[in-house]
């Protein structure tokens, strides 16, 4: 699917190592290459410690690589940018602002006049079915509603890229399924590029054009699985199961080799 297409986001041997105050180093993401294409829905999946959050933070510009580079539209990412909005697991809403004011925040940052910002914000809230909740404060909203407000706040500034770091992980299963569908709807309408971090394999297959399999110790890109299924996808179908098996297989292999790896380490340690 990437024949002749110019990547929107690229990892060029990008690597991230953290140094603790005692001087110990920890490699969160080993040097790797990855291309994300415009309008693509890319899921990053893996166990904790696989560097998936590090990878998304590098792309969003919240972190800088310690080696190699991360490019967006050919330019190295040095800072977060309003054209690329991050959605967090814990929403990042301002509790003293109403839902409407939260959505207006991004627009006001751009210096858009209050009247126009309000109009755009209300439209964004409508697109996530929250018109009735515009005047409510975050503490009066359910988790799913809060994440919708965060989504509306992002959509209001019409970003080209949406980074989502386990955005539905804190929600109950039913809300999660509903929001997945709403997200796919939004993506269809806006042709937005979405990078989606999750540890839920079904979620990754249901949403992603491609699923990046990541592994831990040290964190790395291990494999890429292209999900060749038309939207909307059916979780109960056999073809869906095919990808589920493929992904489970990928992770089982990763786990097995890891176990062997740590066994040998233990042996060496005991010698």
């Amino acid at each position: 699917m990437n024949n002749g297409r110019i990547p929107k986001i690229s990892f060029r041997n990008a690597e991230k190592t953290f140094y603790s105050s005692s001087g110990e180093s920890h490699t969160a993401l080993t040097a790797g290459n990855l291309d994300v294409y415009k309008g693509e829905f890319l899921c990053l999946v893996g166990p904790s410690g696989c560097g998936k959050s590090t990878a998304i933070n590098l792309m969003a510009g919240f972190e800088q690589p310690t080696g190699g580079s991360v490019l967006i539209d050919g330019e190295p990412v040095l800072e977060p940018h309003p054209d690329r909005i991050m959605i967090f697991q814990d929403y990042g809403l301002f509790p003293w602002k109403t839902a409407l004011d939260n959505v207006m925040f991004g627009l006001r940052c751009r210096g858009i006049k209050e009247v126009d910002a309000k109009k755009t914000a209300l439209a964004a809230l409508e697109s996530v079915n929250l018109t009735a909740e515009a005047k409510r404060h975050p503490h009066e909203l359910s988790g799913g509603m809060k994440q919708r407000v965060a989504l509306a706040r992002a959509l209001a500034v019409e970003p080209g890229v949406l980074f989502m770091d386990e955005p539905f992980a804190a929600l109950d299963a039913f809300t999660r399924l509903r929001l997945q569908d709403e997200l796919l709807d939004i993506r269809k309408k806006r042709q937005i590029t979405v990078i989606f971090v999750t540890h839920d394999l079904d979620e990754a297959i249901y949403l992603g054009d491609r699923v990046v399999v990541m592994a831990a110790n040290p964190g790395r890109f291990e494999d890429i699985i292209t999900v060749d299924l038309p939207y909307p996808r059916d979780r109960t179908e056999q073809s869906f199961d095919h990808y589920r098996k493929k992904l489970f297989h990928a992770f089982n292999l990763v786990h097995n080799s890891e176990r062997k790896h740590s066994n040998t380490q233990q042996v060496t340690a005991s010698l």
Binding site: A60, F62, E79, P80, H81, P82, R84, I85, M86, F88, D90, G92, F94, P95, W96, F105, G106, R108, C109, R110, H137, P138, H139, E140, V157
Partner: protein, 255 residues
């Protein structure tokens, strides 16, 4: 129903018991040494009728406001700054920790030496009493602001002035409010002390002056008024704090 009884009846009973014990204890002493509740009520009405009371109350209130507001104006900006500047906080922390445990009353000899007798030493002592609680709660409130707020602001390209006014201040506000609440209490306590030592008017002076005339009933009347006004001030600021917490979505445990 039961809740209502507990809320009204029990405090009324306790208050009644308190007055009875007081009455009983006072009956063992001459009134100049230990006045009865009724004697104190009479002393209050005497103060009210004399007319000087309102002047004392209003001058105390003016001193409280002047000292408290200047403490707010100094401590909040300094606290916001120190909360954001870690090296500055580290540098100044030993000085603050050294000055903080010194009772504001201990400043009295210097205050009188520097400012003479009058408004200024009392105001200075109240200022010292209010300054540190506000400063420390502001610093802590700023440091407790979740990093995600700054991340979101950076992501949307918010300018520093906007982050300061629209994010930092409102995010720290409930914590600052808590400090303002505590500081008002300590300020009020030290108002009386300050006026007893270094002033010739106000509620504190009223008490110390009554002592000079051995008017125990007036001393107790003054104490009662100090308690009552302190209670009112506390109620006022609690209501304000609750309003803000409600707005911010902070649920406080109801008593």
């Amino acid at each position: 129903m039961r809740d209502k009884i507990e809320k009204l009846l029990l405090p009324a009973l306790a208050l009644g018991a308190f007055i009875l014990i007081w009455q009983y204890a006072a009956s063992h002493y001459p009134p100049e040494q230990f006045p009865t509740p009724l004697g104190v009520v009479q002393a209050i009405s005497e103060l009210v009728q004399q007319g000087g009371l309102w002047k004392d109350i209003s001058i105390s209130m003016v001193r409280l406001c002047a000292a408290y507001l200047s403490a707010v104006l100094c401590a909040i900006p300094l606290g916001l700054f120190l909360g954001r500047c870690r090296p500055c906080l580290r540098a100044i922390d030993p000085v603050v920790q050294l000055l903080r445990p010194i009772s504001p009353i201990a400043w009295f000899p210097l205050a009188v030496l520097w400012f003479g007798i009058g408004n200024t030493p009392a105001i200075f002592i109240i200022f010292m009493a209010a300054f540190f609680p506000i400063l420390l709660s502001t610093v802590n409130a700023v440091r407790a602001i979740p990093d995600i707020y700054y991340k979101v602001s950076r992501n949307f390209g918010a300018r520093p002035a906007l982050v300061f006014l629209r994010i930092l201040i409102p995010a720290a506000f409930p914590g600052i409010m808590n400090g303002l609440h505590i500081a008002l209490g300590t300020a009020w306590i030290h108002l009386v002390a300050g006026e007893m030592l270094g002033a010739d008017s106000g509620l504190g002076y009223l008490i110390i002056n009554a002592r000079n005339y051995l008017r125990t009933d007036l001393i107790m009347a003054g104490m009662f008024l100090v308690g009552l006004l302190g209670l009112l001030l506390n109620r006022l600021i609690t209501a304000g704090e609750r309003l803000i917490n409600k707005q911010w979505g902070i649920t406080t445990q109801e008593q």
